[in-house]
Amino acid sequence: MKKVFKMFRPDHKFARGDGNSYIKIENLNVSIANNHILKNVNIDIPDNKITCIIGPSGCGKTTLLKTLNLLIYAIDGVDISGKIDVNGTNIIGRDFDIEVHRRMMGLVWQKPVPLPMSIFENVAYGCRVNGTFHPRKLKMIVEHYLTAVGLWDEVKDRLRAPATSLSVGQQQRLCLARSLAVEPSFILADEATSALDPMSSKTIEELFVRLKENYSIVMVTHTLSQAQRIADNVIFMYMGQVIEAGSAEQIFKNPQHELTQNYISGAFS
């Protein structure tokens, strides 16, 4: 019933990235249909930093992001144990306001997924579901975040055009703007540049570097060079386990674990 009432909630105040956001994952275990995917994961994600998660395919990076966002609950047969402390609240457990939490975690997908609406509506959608309906306010929000991702000048004359009419690189920036528009504290990016051409992915990378002033960014990436360029902290995962975590400099210049050394030197990927 609470959820029904929430729909009619008047203008909702968003939790802003206030510089004190953090995620602390302790002993996280996730299995889907008896398939143990994340094993005893312990991670600290600090604020205002870009934390890159690297590792070979199938090591559980995407599942980790989905768990942080609690989108994992939409999957059948999922079993989670452990603790994820987000700004002092443990988010594992059912008696938790999932929608408020999800809004706090802006998610950017590997492939841009525009909503079946116009460019304007795509950015405004999140604000609408969270209770902002005032047209002038929506217009301001849309302009602000489209400017923030450097898309405003390109689309300001065709805001009513369908989002699918944009190029893939533009769509990815639109998706980022859409995530930012609900004012999250964290940005979770799942290989956000892998579907893009080099120019567009450079734009996105630069955006992330700029955004880390206000947000705490968790990025899953397949490209080591990208992690080297923009990461502050790096977490190396292998087969659902965290093998090594530390500052980017330490991981790339002086990896401790043998697996990490092999991965970074390109022995396997």
Binding site: M7, D76, W109, L115, P116, Y125, G126, N130
Partner: protein, 289 residues
Amino acid sequence: MKKPKIIKNLKLLEELIAKLLMYVALFVVVAFAMSIVVTIISRGWPAMTWEMVSQVPGSSFLLGGDGGILNAIVGSLYIVGASTLLGLAISIPIVFYMNVYLKKTSKFGYIARLSYDVLFGIPPIVFGAFGFMIMVYFGMRASLLGGIIVITLLIIPVFIRSIDEVARNFPREILDVAYSLGATKLQTLHVVLRQILPGVATATLLAIGRAIGDAAAVMLTAGYTSAIPTSLSQPAATLPLAVFYQAMSPIEEVRQGAYAAAFVLTLIVLALSIGGRLIMRYFSKDKIH
């Protein structure tokens, strides 16, 4: 190794025969459709008079007297319009629930889908008889309301089956996006509708086609009358029944009138499907492909 020439030729022949068969099949279908349309137009057009579509039948209409089929036109539009709206209002929430709230593996969803499939295959006359039985039980007489309810029941399976077909192919990532922006399941309705609107339009066309052409169910529940109904409790005439009664007449002129009614019926269906296609094109512009 090079393929022997004979095999290559055989394959060409195979292709040729397949193509030929397809052309023949296409031709038969198109010819059949065209012959229906041509017959209706050539026979119906001479009988089409302004009187036919603008007046209710006179007292001896079925014996060759004055009047038209306005009662049937209006009755059909009333019944089809109301039951389409009702059907949509019932079907969309059902499909939404089955696809967003229920898990893919849900037993309940499976049973529900099976039931709609069964309902889909039940002939209209059974719906009509069933509706008639219930109406008798409640002491109702053949009426516009009875017709609307039975036709609504008749087209709900059409709606649900064809909208569900589209909704099941709905890209899950779109739902994930909506959730990640803080939407509740109910709030995703907006997004889901935008994506499946073309499917809803197609379903509506199919449903209208079934509703407007149905004679059996309305015969038992809506009845037939020469007057235009002014309230839900009065009986209402429908076009298929107007065709039926006139075509049964021994008088040649009256039988001509049947073609006129069929012509009007075809015209309405044609107008609806062309209009529907235009609307569909407009709504699918935002769709994610």
